[in-house]
């Protein structure tokens, strides 16, 4: 049976990993390529590279890094950040990305997901949504979480999947950074309405959070996190062994 995926996310700015990294074996690694290699040799099932650069110069550095990573890491790579039009898909796919994740770009350009899915296939298009509770409703936020779009999140995700998004990253802004566990309420609501893979993001603080995630919501396919992996608070091989012991099917 298919295994649950564990996915580290690397935020890259001007060619460096932004969130600090401090492994015992690998102190202060700022090179995204070295970090990608480390993760792929240590149990990561997939990697997400998030380009948080704004300048054209930084973007060039990013694609250079992506090319280097894709030449040395042979697991699926998803790329997000600054994806606004079809040419952005082309730019990162030609550098070795397997999937492209869209967030604000899909809100600004409502035709983007459909066009990209038609051209590159559903499996290539990932909708990533930053979601926060506003007056008891789930709202989609744009621009890195700075702008409330007023869009109802569950309807938005349903619509994106209907247009061809082959995977959904649900990033809960309410649980992100708190390290108190994933947003199970939100994730359940999303899993109830879509039949494509759902990736949980935001809130992982300890191994038990992943165990709870997969046990309480069997329809969730993957757990994504950044700092808990970067700071070595959770080592992926240990996490996967624990998951296996708890009866969650993972790739060891």
């Amino acid at each position: 049976m298919i295994t649950k995926r564990i996915i580290p996310c690397l935020d890259v700015k001007d060619g460096r990993v932004v969130k600090g990294v401090n492994f015992e074996k690998l102190k202060e690694v700022a090179s995204p390529v070295d970090l990608a290699k480390f993760y792929s040799e240590n149990g990561a099932d997939e990697l997400v590279f998030y380009d948080i650069t704004a300048s054209a110069e930084g973007r060039k550095l990013f694609t250079g890094i992506l090319t280097e990573a894709a030449s040395s890491v042979f697991i699926p790579l998803t790329v997000g950040g600054g994806i606004r039009e079809l040419s952005d898909f082309e730019r990162v796919l030609s550098c070795g990305a397997d999937k492209v994740s869209v967030n604000s770009g899909a809100i600004a350009n409502r035709a983007l997901i459909g066009e990209a899915a038609k051209k590159y296939g559903d499996q290539c298009v990932v909708i990533s949504a930053d979601i926060k509770r506003v007056d008891g409703a789930f709202h989609v936020f744009a621009k890195g979480g700075r702008e409330d779009t007023g869009l109802e999140a569950i309807e938005w995700i349903k619509r994106c999947v209907g247009e061809g998004a082959g995977e959904v990253v649900v990033n809960s802004m309410d649980t992100d950074g708190v390290k108190g566990g994933f947003d199970l309420e939100l994730l359940k609501a999303v899993c109830d309405v879509v039949d494509v893979p759902v990736i949980a993001s935001g809130g992982a603080g300890k191994t038990e959070d992943f165990i709870r995630l997969f046990k309480e919501i069997p329809k969730v396919d993957a757990g994504l996190a950044a700092s808990v992996f970067h700071f070595g608070e959770i080592a992926i091989p240990d996490l996967k062994r624990k998951l296996k012991e708890e009866g969650v099917n993972v790739r060891l």
Binding site: S71, F74, G96, G166, D195, P197
Partner: protein
């Protein structure tokens, strides 16, 4: 030299990079002579079956591939490339494939448990159905990376590995010099690289 066939379908970056990684010489090409001169052929592919076959036919590469395979040259199809090695596919209609292997491509929908997601995306374990040199450096139960909604059936004579997704679905096939993987060896970490290495070493 391994010729990776370029017919305008799919991303060849990783296939090429993975072969380089294991020290194999590879070239991405749509040139008939280069394909004829290569020791082995890899046929990649993503997307829809009929589009991909149409493109192969338009470029005349379908005949080149068939001729080379019939001469006994090793050829490996990956993902949609594997599916095209078969006689036909029932993806949106009925379409003729290269016919190098017996069997056909059918949808998972209606066959597997309806609660399971389609496409079958992610890492899943291999079950060996027959010993094969492709498995030289790996073991049964090793996981590889899949992305597909259709699978090969009625292919008993070439089936060498399956994977369980409610049903045991075709994961790898081989008959003589014609081989195929439904999964992506170029995206399956060390296990995938080890299988590519075994393919490259075949004589």
């Amino acid at each position: 030299m391994i010729a990776i066939i370029d017919y305008g379908v799919g991303n060849l970056f990783s296939v090429c990079a993975s072969l380089k990684k294991i020290g194999a010489e590879a070239i991405v090409t749509s040139d008939r002579r280069e394909i004829e001169n290569a020791d082995k052929i890899i046929l990649p592919g993503v997307g829809a079956f009929s589009d991909a076959m149409k493109k192969l036919k338009q470029t005349g590469l379908d005949e080149v591939i068939k001729a080379e395979a019939n001469k006994g040259k090793y050829i490996m199809g990956i993902c949609l490339g594997m599916q095209m090695l078969f006689e036909k596919s029932y993806e949106y209609g009925e379409h003729e494939g290269l016919g190098l292997l017996k069997g056909s491509i059918v949808p998972m929908k209606g066959v597997i448990d309806e609660r399971l997601k389609i496409p079958h995306i992610g890492w899943n374990a291999l079950r060996f159905e027959k010993p094969h040199f492709l498995f030289k450096y790996i073991k049964e139960g090793d996981c590889v990376y899949f992305v597909h909604s259709y699978y090969a059936t009625d292919c008993k004579d070439s089936l060498i590995a399956t994977t369980e997704y409610d049903q045991y679905l075709t994961a790898a096939v081989a008959k003589g010099n014609v081989l195929g993987c439904q999964f992506h060896p170029e995206k399956s970490g060390e296990v995938g690289l080890a299988m590519l290495k075994a393919f490259c070493e075949a004589v």
